[in-house]
């Protein structure tokens, strides 16, 4: 399987909240070639996660269309060609590390000898050999997040979706996880869409940073990140990078009304 390009065409999404209609996304369009890394940034409630959920086929646009490599997300779902990782690692607490990484194959309902090999390989790639039989409750936050990333990549998806994957980690751990993610991604550049609140994380990882503004959610600007791969962490201290960061922050503040009500979009409510 190769990875696939992204085609988002005038997508809007409305939610009915307590009888009122709320426009969460307003005619969003975006194209990205296969094998690119997209970061979505913007204030809370700007529809980043809604967009991500639609790419995952977990939600339908009210109008407009999304295609990944010419297919709908639902078609990708049926083939097991998507991968996702959430902010809280969201591991199955009763399954071991090995069993959590294997989980996608259990749901898809087939596991070849190559798949089994791949589970072992992914655990090694994220540096968790020796912890195969550990339960999530016995792991640190960083280790749990590595399991989640291994699980997202194990089925060799054509589209990788990351919903603030390192949002719950401290700054130092986050940086080292960013570095590891870049290494994994360069190893096999799958088309990736990542939602993040961290501007420097977006600059470090992404080919394109999509700045969104809120209420209703729109794309304010798409910024190409010019730095060559493989990017060192020291890049974040460079003057060029700082300047870019300042620009992106300015875009976020001018475009996005800050989210005062604190309410989240309907799609995000499920968490405890």
């Amino acid at each position: 399987m190769t990875s696939a390009g992204l085609h988002i065409d005038r997508v809007s999404r409305r939610f009915d909240v307590d009888g009122r209609s709320l426009l969460a996304l307003d005619t969003v369009s975006l194209d990205a070639p296969a094998g690119s890394f997209i970061a979505l940034i913007g204030p809370s409630g700007c529809g980043k996660s809604t967009l991500l959920r639609m790419l995952a086929g977990l939600d339908q646009p009210t109008s407009g269309e999304l295609h990944v490599g010419g297919e709908t997300p639902q078609a990708l779902q049926q083939r097991g060609a998507l991968g996702i990782a959430f902010q809280e690692a969201s591991l199955l607490p009763w399954r071991s590390v090995e069993s959590n990484v294997r989980f996608p194959f259990d749901v898809i309902g087939r596991m070849t000898r190559a798949d089994r090999e791949r589970v072992r390989e992914m655990i090694a790639l994220v540096g968790l050999q020796g912890f195969e039989q550990a339960l999530p409750s016995q792991l640190s936050g960083g280790m749990r997040q590595r399991v989640a990333i291994a699980r997202a990549l194990v089925s060799q998806p054509q589209l990788l979706l990351l919903d603030e994957p390192f949002g719950a980690l401290d700054q130092i751990l986050r940086r080292s996880m960013n570095e590891e993610l870049q290494r994994l991604w360069l190893n096999r550049p799958v088309t990736t869409v990542m939602v993040t609140h961290s501007v420097d994380e977006a600059i470090f990882l992404a080919d394109k940073v999509v700045v969104m503004s809120g209420r209703p959610g729109r794309i304010a600007r798409v910024v190409d990140i010019p730095f060559p791969r493989e990017r060192p962490l020291s890049l974040l201290a460079s003057a060029e990078c700082r300047k870019l960061e300042a620009e992106l922050l300015a875009l976020m503040f001018e475009g996005g009304t800050s989210d005062r009500s604190g309410s989240r979009t309907g799609s995000e409510r499920g968490d405890d």
Binding site: D16, R53, A56, G57, L58, Q77, Q78, R79, G80, L82, G83, I84, F86, E88, S90, L92, P93, W94, F103, P104, D106, V107, I108, G127, A134, L135, Q138, L139, S140, G142, M143, S155, L173, S176, R269, G270, D271, D272
Partner: protein
């Protein structure tokens, strides 16, 4: 790299002698506290301090148990058999209904009337009717089944529905449908919660079986044995029977606990109160329709049961359908109308129930505060209180009768004893959950322990106080009725007994329906107060 090193130490345990000593200091103190309590009991028993020997010493109880042992096997077998069968039957129904409610949202609303009735209903109230309608083991099995239903049903629904939404998304992302989420996530996720529910249900089954034995004539079973021994005035034997009943109950509890440990490890069960969570987007009209159906459903079940019993040959002379009972209530054929008899009895019972409940709650609150001030005392009391949850407490009523005699004091003592422990457990858990940071806010400003409690711990535990009141209201009613039945010969409890003895079946049905109805109304009233108080202070209800 440094992070890896840190991670590898995560699972290591402290090994030094000092750490071990620190870790075992608390259990040691708790064990000493327990021993002190036991020693006090032994001395009090030997010296006959309590009511002229109504509280025998532990050694005296054990001695009597050995002497009587030849009587026990038959009774133990009967109690274990009926409560086990009731447990299986009740839980089977509860799990099936739980699945229905979890997979079809309106079911929860439609069945809420039946569920609240089964939760709030005092099991002993149904005894006369069960004994009229069935014979043999059936009344005991039925009451045991009815007593297990509620906790298991709630646990099934919670376990199946309170799932991390992202885990469900994950399954959908890989093309899984409803069946796949059930198979991979929901069933396994429900397991610890379901087992916790079964653990609560197990002592209920034993209690149900015992209560049915209280009401029926002679036969095998610890309840019969207890009632039969009541007249002989042998406290040590009564205590022995109580202990054996408790041991059976605790055995069930432990068996399920061990099963859960082996099966699901220490994975915590899901927690949430059932009330109010089934909101959703329903129109006003359909919500009212659901409410109407949910109120009618228990009455229809009653009607259906009577109809079914008549079909299997139970004489219609002893049965009353809803319209028949209503007709009889307003009939002028009786010397004294049913409404005035039942009303008079209720007027005696309800004030005791409210008083016992309030005193029990106040006592529990006081001890919860003392427990936070003195952690050792709290940790001596907590296991004791948890132990009583596996104890058919009301089955120990005859012992309280021995100590307090046959007047109002007994009613109050029994009501407090059945309300205090669950209320204390709920309140102590609430107080233990006060965030340390909030307490630090008071400490930083130089506030005393009393200020911490007054300004933070007490307001914080308000939802838990409300939850405790909701939990104990039906229990208080049950406690008063049992005390009236066995000790004072007054009120609704006595009427239940007398009506059956005088073969006045109209009166039996009137009392049973009134007792169930009042208990449900009492529960609903407490729920309303809770709702109002929590809304006033913008707090979420405690589980």
């Amino acid at each position: 790299m440094t992070e890896r090193v840190r991670e590898s130490q995560v699972t290591k345990k402290p090994r030094s002698v000092r750490q071990l000593a620190v870790r075992h200091a608390m259990p040691l103190k708790i064990a000493l506290g327990w021993l002190a309590l036991l020693a006090l009991w032994e001395i009090a028993g030997r010296q006959q301090w309590v009511a002229g020997g109504a509280l025998p010493s532990p050694s005296g109880i054990l001695g009597q148990l050995v002497v009587d042992w030849h009587d026990y096997p038959e009774h133990i077998r009967a109690t274990v058999r009926t409560s086990l069968l009731g447990f299986l039957l009740g839980n089977l129904v509860a799990v099936l209904v739980g699945f229905l409610m979890a997979s079809w949202r309106p079911a929860g609303r439609l069945l809420s009337g039946v569920n609240v009735t089964l939760f709030a209903m005092p099991p002993i109230a149904l005894t006369p009717i069960l004994i009229i309608a069935f014979d043999g083991d059936a009344p005991r099995i039925a009451l045991a089944a009815l007593s297990t239903y509620y906790p298991t049903m709630v646990a099934t629904v919670l376990g199946l529905t309170r799932v991390d939404a992202r885990l469900l998304d994950l399954v959908r992302l890989y093309g899984g449908g409803r069946w796949a989420t059930l198979r991979w996530i929901r069933l396994r996720h429900a397991l610890p919660t379901l087992l916790a529910g079964l653990r609560v249900a197990a002592p209920n089954a034993v209690l149900g079986s015992l209560l049915a034995e209280f009401g029926s004539g002679s036969g095998a079973g610890l309840g019969h044995y207890l009632i039969g021994s009541l007249g002989r005035g042998d406290p040590a034997r009564l205590w022995g029977i109580g202990l054996v009943a408790t041991a059976i109950s605790a055995g069930f509890y432990l068996a399920i606990l061990l099963l859960a440990r082996g099966w699901v490890g220490r994975q915590a069960p899901a927690q949430e109160s059932l009330g109010g969570s089934s909101g959703g987007s329903m129109s006003r009209a359909s919500r009212l329709l659901c409410l109407a159906i949910s109120i009618t459903l228990p009455v229809l079940l009653w009607w259906g049961a009577v109809w079914g019993l008549e079909r299997v040959g139970v004489s219609s002379f002893v049965l009353r359908s809803p319209p028949e009972l209503v007709a009889e209530l307003f009939s002028t054929m009786r010397p004294e109308s049913l409404t005035s008899i039942v009303g008079g009895a209720l007027a005696q019972t309800v004030p005791w129930c409210l008083a016992g409940m309030l005193v029990g709650l106040a006592f529990a609150l006081l001890l919860a505060i003392v427990g936070t001030l003195s952690p050792v005392l709290g940790r001596v009391l907590m296991p004791l209180s948890l132990l009583t949850q596996s104890m058919p407490l009301v089955a120990l009523t005859p012992l309280i009768v021995l100590i307090f005699g046959r007047d109002g004091a007994t009613i109050l003592a029994i009501t407090i004893s059945v309300t205090f422990f669950p209320a204390y457990v709920t309140l102590a858990q609430g107080m233990a959950l006060v965030p340390a940071a909030t307490l630090d806010c008071v400490r930083v400003l130089g506030g005393s322990r009393w200020r911490e409690i007054g300004l933070v711990s007490l307001p914080w535990s308000l939802p838990y106080l409300c939850a405790a009141a909701r939990l104990v209201a039906p229990r208080a009613f049950l406690g008063v009725m049992i005390a009236e039945w066995l000790a004072t010969g007054t009120g609704v409890g006595n009427l239940l007994n007398v009506a059956r003895g005088s073969l006045d079946y109209g009166l039996v049905w009137a009392v049973v329906v009134a007792a169930v109805l009042v208990s449900v109304l009492l529960y609903l009233a407490v729920t309303l107060v809770e709702h109002w108080v929590l809304k006033r202070y913008a707090m979420a209800p405690a589980p």
